[in-house]
């Protein structure tokens, strides 16, 4: 059988995959085949592929766990007409819990509650766990050994982020960081 051009294999695999494909996975496509693209060749082909789709309604993008095609935002109003459901809306309580975990991870439920000033119900935690956005990464070494929650790679993927660094910071956080920094500096100077 004739070998397909590298770029065509990547195109088909990325459209067929249900999850983003890492460079590692893309290499695996060619295991035991005469083609043995290096990482450089793969990246170069991916970049040409992205160019081919520059004027189309799907874009090739890189997220935390690899590459995937996604439909451009401009299509949302059209797609909204297709389905009655409005998927992916979350309550403020859920969003605040996710924000705590996202910005302060790893964090216990008690810590989330102390900032929110109200109890965080199990259904909220479970909803986020089932959505694949948070997971337990350990247990805090205090009485009761409460679970420590953190965000997952899928959270990054679903929010189109390569890493947590790309998350925008709220004003308060910026202020706190600079205050902490100043306080730290002052302390150091005092020593």
């Amino acid at each position: 059988m004739a070998e397909l051009a590298l770029i065509r294999v990547l195109e088909g695999a990325l459209f067929a995959a249900r999850e983003p494909l890492s460079i590692q996975a893309l290499k695996q496509l060619f295991e035991d085949s005469p083609q043995h693209p290096s990482e450089g060749m793969l990246r170069e082909a991916l970049s040409r592929l992205a160019d081919e789709y520059a004027d189309r309604s799907v874009r090739l993008i890189e997220v935390s766990t690899g590459f995937r095609f996604q439909v451009i935002d401009a299509l949302s109003p059209y797609l909204a007409r297709l389905s009655e459901e409005k998927p992916g809306r979350y309550s403020r309580a859920t969003l605040e819990t996710l924000a705590m975990i996202c910005y302060r991870q790893p964090v216990t439920r008690g810590e989330i509650e102390s900032v929110r000033g109200v109890a965080v119900g199990s259904p909220i935690i479970r909803t986020l766990e089932e959505r694949g956005w948070i997971h337990v990464v350990g247990h805090k070494d205090v009485p009761g050994r409460p679970a420590l929650y953190a965000t997952t790679r899928q959270f990054l993927n679903d929010f189109g982020l390569k890493s947590l660094d790309q998350l925008p910071l709220p004003q308060g956080v910026q202020r706190r960081i600079s205050e902490d920094l100043l306080a730290g500096l002052t302390e150091q100077m005092d020593e």
């Binding site: 459209f15 705590m100 000033g117 925008p168 308060g172």
Partner: protein
């Protein structure tokens, strides 16, 4: 949205003062109260709202004033007999405490070690406000499902499919126990547990009724299953009737009994 408020009866007692009218700036139509209570995520959220409404900086808040407003709000909710979460009352107590300490002259040096409660409250409010902002920021990031979709094309048939996950019987039992523990259903009096063979038979009877609109009752009893099988079938029929999933129909006494889908109407 101002409405005349009856001034005769005391509406509530706030900080020792009888409140006959709601503070002007606080008046909210009673039927809107429930909605508003739902709109707040908790006492911190409510306090933030009260502070922000006056364009105040959290760091500059007048505890006495904000306490007054918060208490008036809580009193109003209580007067309307809304079930208030304990957190709201706890905050009321905390505010009252802070207010009294701010008003009373403090003996010098006594509290040097202890944190100023006003500072603690301000810190809590700032942290919560920051969280609110973070949540809004997070929600503004375009995300899968709501804002965009992954582009996919149907994959060709593969000879080598990833083997599906395997499940051990024990895992299933554990999952069910966890569920029961969580739902606190384990007490036998809260949920009835028919034997599983009965539930299995219930499914089978419903499945039969998928293809046929009605069955003669006797068709559900198989002689070769013996006495035990007939009992199971009988119990399954009774349970299905009780849950309104099937009905038994008999045209006249002595005639054949038929089983049909759904509850009997009328």
């Amino acid at each position: 949205m101002k409405q005349p408020v009856q001034g005769e009866l005391p509406l509530a007692i706030v900080a020792g003062e009888v409140l006959t009218t709601l503070p002007e700036d606080l008046y909210i139509p009673p039927d809107a109260l429930e909605v508003i209570l739902d709109a707040f995520e908790g006492p911190l959220d409510l306090l933030l709202y009260l502070i922000r409404r006056q364009n105040l900086d959290i760091r500059q808040i007048n505890v006495a004033e904000i306490t007054h407003q918060y208490m008036a709000y809580i009193a109003m909710l209580e007067a309307m007999r809304f079930e208030l979460a304990a957190e709201y009352l706890l905050m009321a107590a905390m505010l009252a405490e802070i207010k009294s300490r701010v008003l009373l002259p403090r003996p010098p040096d006594v509290d040097a070690e202890e944190e100023d409660p006003r500072a603690a409250l301000i810190r809590q409010l700032l942290a919560y406000e920051e969280l609110k902002q973070s949540a809004e920021l997070l929600d503004s990031i375009p995300r899968v499902e709501r804002d965009w979709v992954v582009a996919q094309a149907l994959a060709p048939e593969l000879d080598l499919l990833r083997p599906p996950p395997t499940v051990e019987l024990a895992e299933l039992v554990v999952a069910f126990s966890d569920l029961l523990a969580r739902a606190q259903l384990s007490a036998a009096h809260q949920v009835h547990f028919e034997t599983l063979s009965t539930r299995e038979r219930m499914s089978q009877i419903l499945d039969h009724l998928q293809t046929r609109a009605e069955l003669a009752l006797h068709e559900l009893f198989q002689v070769h299953e013996g006495r035990a099988g007939v009992v199971v079938a009988f119990l399954a029929v009774l349970e299905l009737v009780r849950e309104g999933l099937i009905s038994l129909v008999q045209a006249a006494p002595g005639q054949l009994i038929y089983v049909t889908r759904g509850a009997q109407h009328g």
